[in-house]
Symmetry: D2
Subunit: 345 residues, 4 copies
């Protein structure tokens, strides 16, 4: 059993890490912090974990958490993560950072979308933690930047197609919808049940922070600058992202070529699920799992490709992917602890 710790265990990504680590056959939780619940039993705060996590929340001391841990998950807000990272590395632990702090390779871009970067020297070292595209770099890494939830859904759909030159790099649109857990576990008026339930709306339509992250990776895949039109929406469900991506095929590309491209890219991938022809992704079918479902259709009116990508924003979109990265970094089987199937219904 390999000892791991969690900095920030009381947000939704934190408690999802707790669930996954508690059931993981090779990981042993040696510490979990929470400013809000310091000193309280984890299972008192999260009844679902009764009997599965038997340590209390500790103070948010990165160095103390890292001592005795082979790897620390940073499940804290951006800025807090970059403040904690050096002490964790200095203590000899590896890091999977679930915040945005080390995702953007270009520090000025980070600072334009977020805030001043206090730890730019680690940016170059950080590996972008999308195992399907960066597996070999992730394995030896000390610091892995876990991708954003929307980002993972869009990149798994588009990166192989851009690499293969099957779709135009211009005019890409990602119209996405996410369950409200993506907004975190915090006491905000716009998150209460009465505001979200039985409702649907867009948000952050003039610029969501996941945009530069998607553009960074799409540009790398295309070999040239890609600009993406991205529109997130808020769904009245717990978990799940569905991205509907519109892409212009290059001459000669059809549904079959897209499917063949994905097939080649993902045939050995345990979590990427190309659906049978004619079947559409559904967020409920990936809820609580580390899977991505993919499908493609050609619009008969415009010839545009409609690409659909579904995942669970807290699992493959956050904490499941973090455990997948940790498995790789720690030399474990990549799928260990990550084979849960979605409940029906």
């Amino acid at each position: 059993m390999i000892p791991v710790a969690i900095l920030g265990g009381s947000g939704y990504t934190g408690v999802e890490l707790l669930r996954l680590v508690a059931r993981h056959p090779r990981l042993n939780l040696v510490g979990v912090s929470s400013r809000q619940y310091e000193g309280q039993a984890v299972s008192k705060v999260f009844g679902a974990l009764q009997g599965a996590v038997d340590i209390p929340f500790s103070a948010a001391e990165p160095a103390a958490l890292a001592k005795g841990a082979a790897l620390v998950f940073l499940a804290v807000p951006h800025q807090t993560a970059m403040a904690a990272a050096p002490a964790v590395l200095a203590a000899g632990a590896k890091i999977v950072d679930l915040s945005a702090d080390f995702r953007l390779r270009d520090v000025p871009t980070y600072e334009q979308w977020y805030a001043p970067h206090t730890c730019p020297e680690l940016v170059a070292e950080a590996v972008y933690g999308l195992p399907e595209f960066y597996r070999e770099q992730i394995k030896p890494a000390r610091l892995v930047a876990n991708p954003g939830c929307y980002v993972t859904s869009v990149l798994t759909a588009l990166v192989p197609l851009l690499r293969a030159g099957l779709v135009e790099h211009e005019g890409l649109i990602a119209d996405s919808a996410s369950g409200v857990s993506g907004a975190g576990r915090s006491a905000k008026l716009n998150l209460i049940h009465g505001e979200v339930h039985d409702n649907f709306k867009a948000y952050a339509v003039a610029g969501h922070r996941h945009t530069p992250e998607m553009e960074q990776e799409l540009s790398l895949a295309a070999g040239r600058e890609v600009r993406l039109t991205f529109t997130p929406h808020l769904l009245p469900i717990d978990r799940g992202i569905l991205s509907t991506v519109y892409a212009r095929p290059v001459a000669g590309t059809d549904e079959e070529k897209v499917r063949a491209c994905w097939q080649a890219a993902y045939e050995a991938e345990p979590f990427l699920r190309l659906l049978p022809k004619g079947v559409l992704p559904a967020t409920k079918e990936v809820r609580g799992t580390n899977r991505v479902q993919l499908a493609v259709f050609t619009d008969p009116r415009s010839g545009l490709l409609k690409i659909f990508s579904a995942l669970d924003n807290l699992t493959k979109g956050a904490s499941g992917q973090a455990v997948q990265n940790a498995n790789l970094m720690l030399g474990l089987g990549e799928t260990e602890g990550l084979l849960d199937l979605a409940l029906t219904p």
Copy 2:
């Protein structure tokens, strides 16, 4: 009080008509049919109508229903509506048809998307029932074809802009999501709670029947053929459509010009709501109302216009619009019986 009747009162558009007519200050319900519930009290089937509708469901006899009614709402499936229309007109009653049977001006197009048309002679007479664009033709009409729900949300967003030449007629995309009541009130496995709840998915992505209807009206507005990429999704909510429309602005068009165009087109419209700058439509804010909420943003990466349009698929998207049409056809105030405000929450 003007006598009206409803052919098909037990689907969701039928019961919404019952609710609206029951509270209408000038309409008096003299008949409502249902094959499924013939002979049963309306309020026994729909508890919400107890004390408000005191007649039983009758047999589905168009001529009998039309006798004594000034206007009959056809809230039956396509094909059934066209079979009933001639008898209703022959009995001297006007018609608002909520089915698709008279929406498409081109009979071959109808037959391509639906089925053989048994009543083509009435197609030319039928007026397309979107009062914001065809008010003067609706007033004297005998037969009004009430628009589709998705269609109304997209047309209210785009028609003024195409008429004014503010957006390109090519590359239009409508990415829409609808509450499940849009699929009707029928015992189908894909509609049961366990399949819909906490789920989100696209459907009919390779061709939804509302597409030709949208293209017909968009083409008329643009003065040339318009092809639309349309993708519907299913929301786990009762009511509500949100359409996110992507349109390429012509040179010189910006958000302000779009807003000014809508302002000019809709300033006297009681149901069209241009939201304050920066505010986004929400399906919950129009639930149970005859309103459309509109907003526009410019995507800073691509320059595309993102246009948002929200309505209630059963009210402005169906039965509320039908009553609005009936008000016009019967010489009543256009807003009578249609001023309900949405519940919060």
Copy 3:
């Protein structure tokens, strides 16, 4: 048009009052306060009210609000209401208080369950605002204490039966469930969507503040002290209370006698709906309405009566009942502005 004002217009009972007053044919809103939104347009905060309420939120100054108003609704928390009441009355306005401050006739009981009472001299003057039982006292009252939501559901079920001596006064149990809007519109972690959605649990099981209010009125109806076992639960829905009441019938009481008793008590009541035999109440059928649905069944194993009572906690359970009281106090028709029917679905 009669001028009215609302102290506290941004909670869920406040915005429900705004909706009802905005559509009321005889009331004119002359002021509405909100500490949180002072100075902002009502329709900016509540998109559903765009075009229907055109004044901004004012400061929470009871005397200023009361000036020019014939009646002020107090939609503020307990303690705040009693602090505001004297100034409103001194300004010559009547009051419907939606808080608990004047519901309990016995000040020590109030102080045991709530907090010290700073305005006991008005307690004796206050009339308990359940029109079905206190209509004649409400009409001339200056100060009406609007009942609690759970309370209204239980009293409408039991008061006529206790008055008629049809059920034992001992052993009464009310097992109730409420939509989460009953917990108010505030940024609390236990109210966010992720905590409430797809969940069901009891709360306040060792003593909910509505208990003494129910016991007060049940005791008056029975003519002796009644103790009630009350258990509230939290439903993942917007609105609605269903109370399942267990009562021991006295010898000779059966379902028919219960129904006849209700029939006699409520035959002239516009909002009390005795359902057809065999039909059960449903919260959705009263959503957004001022109705109560009632039904009774005899348990074949125990002989206990199972009584079901459904209402909308924000309408008949709060703001609708408040408008009903205001109608009576202002000499208007009791049902004016309160005849909305529930949406289906």
Copy 4:
């Protein structure tokens, strides 16, 4: 790996069995039938099982399914189960029957509540499959009758207390609410999303078929006839039952004694969770798990005990308990394949 089969794999209990067996470390699915989907791939029907179940649905032939299987789960309706059981046993396979056919020890009682029993000779042999109370009888059994979902929630709460004589055997009331998956996966109008969503109502209030099953086991626990007042309600959630049980304590019983009694009865039980004092069960915390959460409070007004019991109707209430029984019958670890934790949120 031990071969097992499922008769009836396309209802909600069937697909839950598929999920649990697919992830079970010691069970191997060798057959699953479905009349509706015969010949189709399981993962085509249930997208959540893609890659996890790779056999198609077969015909519903009990003898053929049993051949090669050590145990067959019967996940078919009552009457169908009793028709299949003899052939399965004759083929040498054991049975866990999820229907009601072998739960009632008294055949006339079965016939009063259900239908004529065509297989009474097996009733005496069948063991009631609640492992917490009948573990030693289950281990050697050929035929185990898996309990009803409501029944499991009520029995786990009350059986130890009745055995210990801590509560009166008279006046017991179970007020329960269940997620709609308890009604099965079938195309019925009362199950569609529009009818269930945002709604709450009671059903089967004059006699639910789980009543005699509860009374049978409660009577055995009490050593005398027990009659139960039972009221089920329908929740707009996927999964979960919460039972609120009212019981009169015998003199000297208090919360602590109840807790101590449960503690003694359940201290070695892996799935029974006595919550910390003051904490209430929540259906969401047991969703998808084989757990039962228990809590008790004393009502301060009446002295009644309020007992709360939560479980997942498809897992501990059906298929999880069935796998627990199978584990016992096949000599496996009782918790194998059953240690999933609930998602938060």
